[in-house]
């Protein structure tokens, strides 16, 4: 009975079931040595761009802060290598942002900077300051600065949801974190629970990762005498369940109201790798300079998870994985549902970058777009219950009032609409255009 009920609830919530393609899940993460050169964009998070703190020719060390901003809504950037700053160059990020990048040539010695010591934390304010210094942003893909998220401005948060859903196809980096750094995850939850006074923590994981679920369960049982409730929750696999508002809906049954933050309903969501990193930072003081990236796709010789220094050019990363098997037809930063297509492989790995996928010709096949047949699949599958087909029509006739009335800003750009469209229309792109049109109006430019 509960099976049927669950199925109905899922059907009502929309979403899709793309092929899992978790090819790399059984391969142990491999450490990649420091590359000869790292490129560090000053924008690796949502929020204000950082300003470079180093000059050309300056010597830098591992863990040294090289970029920061005075604004609260930002996160500092650290050097992953020791070496010399070769220059500060303009860089166009794949999402279209123009920023500066610090280019550092590595000396290969990986000498530590003096600032890398475990942080001393006594109060909540110390904790938030330490999280900011660590440079941590949401590692699941959004790149939201973690210290901003944790500093809830007096809003009472009772529940922490650890997002291990990893609903995107191909990506297994969070899955490997669950298997390889299980203790860190629980230590991280402990730290957050202590400083935020949480009542409960829920690790949410999809049922296509039974191995990780069992391991988490086993470790959770060993944790005794906790001051908060700890729960591992198995969710029925469904894309885009890993999106913040979706996972709150799936775990707590709460819909976060439009224009509000999860903290407004007493919930915080953190990515599982972010929590694991937090625990390691509190122990060692080593800021965010490396992360696990899934390298996969039909054009990669040796698909695997790689622990890579941030700033490593994608070309070097692919070289490390045996290079290209066949010439790549499409290169993606992130998963196939929400990832960004890259124009070249000189772009570096950035903080929120959980996967690099190199697609071969067949995977990158572009379909011809035909007329909308009004089938309503996009409406039925939309997880935020907007009407992509109607919004697309409003975008095409530039009807701004209707765009606002149709709540285009609710769109989480998950791509379910484009995925199910039998006419192969780029509906998700139309949603983005619709949002951009409203934003221009809000700024008074249209």
């Amino acid at each position: 009975m509960s099976e049927i009920f669950g199925w109905m609830k899922n059907a009502w919530r929309g979403g899709v079931h793309p092929p899992h393609c978790k090819n790399t899940q059984d391969i142990v993460t491999v450490d990649m040595p420091a590359p000869k050169k790292v490129i560090l964009p000053m924008q690796q998070h949502s929020g204000t761009e950082c300003t470079p703190l180093v000059k050309r020719g300056e010597a830098v060390f591992v863990g040294q802060k090289i970029g920061d901003s005075n604004e609260r809504f930002s996160a500092p950037i650290h050097s992953p290598v020791s070496g010399v700053v070769r220059g500060i160059v303009p860089l166009l990020l794949p999402d279209g942002t123009n920023t500066e990048a610090v280019v550092i040539e590595s000396d290969g010695e990986q000498k530590l900077h003096d600032s890398v010591v475990p942080p001393k934390i006594e109060t909540f304010e110390d904790f938030i300051a330490a999280v900011r210094e660590s440079g941590l942003v949401g590692l699941g893909g959004a790149g939201f600065p973690t210290h901003v998220k944790l500093n809830t401005n007096g809003k009472k948060v009772h529940t922490l949801i650890i997002n291990a859903a990893e609903c995107e196809p191909f990506i297994t980096s969070d899955f490997r974190e669950c298997l390889e750094n299980t203790d860190d995850i629980f230590d991280g939850i402990d730290a957050v629970a202590r400083f935020l006074g949480l009542e409960r923590a829920v690790i949410a994981i999809e049922d296509n990762k039974p191995l990780a679920f069992e391991r988490l369960l086993q470790y959770a049982e060993q944790r005794q005498g906790l001051k908060y409730g700890l729960e591992i929750k198995l969710l029925k696999t469904r894309y885009p369940q890993g999106a913040e508002k979706m996972i709150i809906q799936a775990v707590a049954g709460i819909e976060v109201p439009q224009g509000k933050l999860p903290a407004d309903v007493g919930v915080l969501v953190m990515n599982v790798t972010s929590v694991g990193f937090l625990a390691r930072y509190l122990k060692t003081g080593m800021p965010l300079i490396k992360r696990r990236v899934t390298v996969d796709g039909g054009a990669v010789e040796k698909p695997q998870n790689v622990e890579v220094f941030i700033g490593t050019p994608i070309r070097d990363l692919i070289e490390f994985c045996g290079g290209y098997k066949v010439p790549p037809a499409k290169l993606l930063m992130g998963g196939p549902m929400m990832g960004t297509a890259l124009a070249d492989d000189e772009i570096p790995v950035i903080k929120q970058n959980n996967a690099i996928l190199a697609f071969d010709e067949e995977q990158a096949k572009v379909f011809e777009i035909s007329n909308c047949i009004n089938c309503g699949r996009c409406v039925r599958h939309c997880p935020v219950r907007i009407m992509p087909v109607t919004i697309e029509q409003a975008v095409l006739r530039e009807d701004l009032d209707d765009l606002a009335a149709l709540d285009v800003n609710t769109c989480i750009e998950c791509g379910c609409c484009s995925f199910v469209c039998p006419a192969r229309r780029q509906l998700a792109q139309s949603m983005r255009i619709g949002k951009a049109m409203l934003e221009r109006v809000a700024k008074g430019k249209l």
């Binding site: 709460i254 439009q258 790549p328 379909f367 007329n371 309503g376 109607t390 484009s418 983005r432």
Partner: protein, 316 residues
């Protein structure tokens, strides 16, 4: 890199199902009714279906060439229109009339409005109504099952005529299995429902419109003091409810809209059958609701995620 990379917006995966797949599923769903019709009305059935399908496909192909648009014959929608139109014709129809109807359906109703997805009424129904108005006697000249050869058959009244004239009705089981006079594809309720079930299982359609259509028609007939089973199993009601009213382009997007649409179809059908001097009202009912579809869509917009929900630290 020596080779250029494809840069396109996300998602970079697409689902398996294309427009052509959906149309092929509809064709498969129509096949049981096609066999039933051939069984009851003989060899003229496949000939009429073939004439309609070929005229539809050829006129679509020529139309796209004349309009200098990319060719869309490959999406199989013209085949579906041809089959549905053929199912709505009497078995004695002259072949040139069937061909003319197909040309009207594709050229006037579908392509002149922009091709697939842009027609505002169902092409097959519109063509049927044009033929009915133009060639009245031939369009209502129905023959009894098992009497039709290549040339002609024994003319009979349809159960709907009998019902209107208060004469004796054939048994319910004959009506359900299709052994009675009528348009060639509409008589066998069993085959049509089987096709409908296939479409629901394959998730091509949701059952909302057929159930709302048939349910409201049955309810209204009870209120009118008629036998609901006779009303459901005669005329083109099941063909209309399962295959014509569920046409994507001319039916609403949301389930709520589909419910309103289906109920509208059922009520209008029964009103026409009971109060007007037409024996059949399914076609007119569907066309009327087709025209209302844009308004139903505007009335039944969805409420987006997290809209108008009270805020506060709620425990669960």
């Amino acid at each position: 890199m020596d080779k250029k990379l494809i840069v396109s917006p996300s998602p970079h995966f697409v689902g398996e199902e294309s427009t052509a797949d959906i149309m092929q599923d509809v064709i498969i769903a129509l096949i049981p009714a096609l066999f039933a019709a051939t069984f009851y009305f003989g060899v003229r059935v496949p000939i009429i279906v073939a004439v309609c399908v070929i005229s539809c496909v050829v006129s679509e192909w020529l139309c796209r060439i004349v309009m200098k648009r990319p060719n869309t014959v490959g999406d199989f929608s013209a085949v579906v229109t041809g089959m549905l139109l053929a199912f709505n014709l009497p078995v004695t129809i002259k072949l040139w009339m069937a061909a003319l109807g197909s040309v009207i359906a594709i050229v006037v109703v579908k392509q002149m409005f922009g091709g697939i997805g842009h027609n505002f009424v169902n092409p097959a129904i519109a063509a049927r109504i044009v033929l009915l108005v133009s060639f009245g006697p031939q369009m209502v000249r129905f023959t009894a099952p098992f009497t039709t050869g290549l040339v002609d058959g024994v003319t009979t009244a349809t159960p709907l005529n009998l019902l209107q004239q208060g004469e004796n009705m054939p048994p319910i089981i004959d009506l359900f299995l299709g052994e009675h006079g009528g348009s060639l594809g509409e008589t066998c309720a069993a085959a049509l429902l089987l096709g409908g079930l296939y479409l629901v299982v394959r998730r091509v359609i949701t059952p909302t419109i057929p159930l709302a259509f048939m349910g409201s028609a049955a309810l209204v007939s009870v209120l009118m003091g008629l036998n609901p089973l006779y009303q459901l199993l005669t005329g083109g009601l099941i063909l209309g409810a399962v295959f014509m009213a569920t046409d994507y382009a001319t039916s609403p997007l949301t389930e709520k809209g589909k419910l309103i649409f289906g109920i509208g179809c059922g009520v209008i059908t029964m009103v026409i059958r009971h109060y007007s001097n037409f024996p059949e009202g399914v076609s007119y009912a569907i066309i009327l609701m087709n025209i209302l579809t844009p308004h139903i869509n505007n009335m039944t917009r969805t409420k987006s995620f997290g809209k108008k929900i009270k805020c506060g630290a709620k425990k669960y």
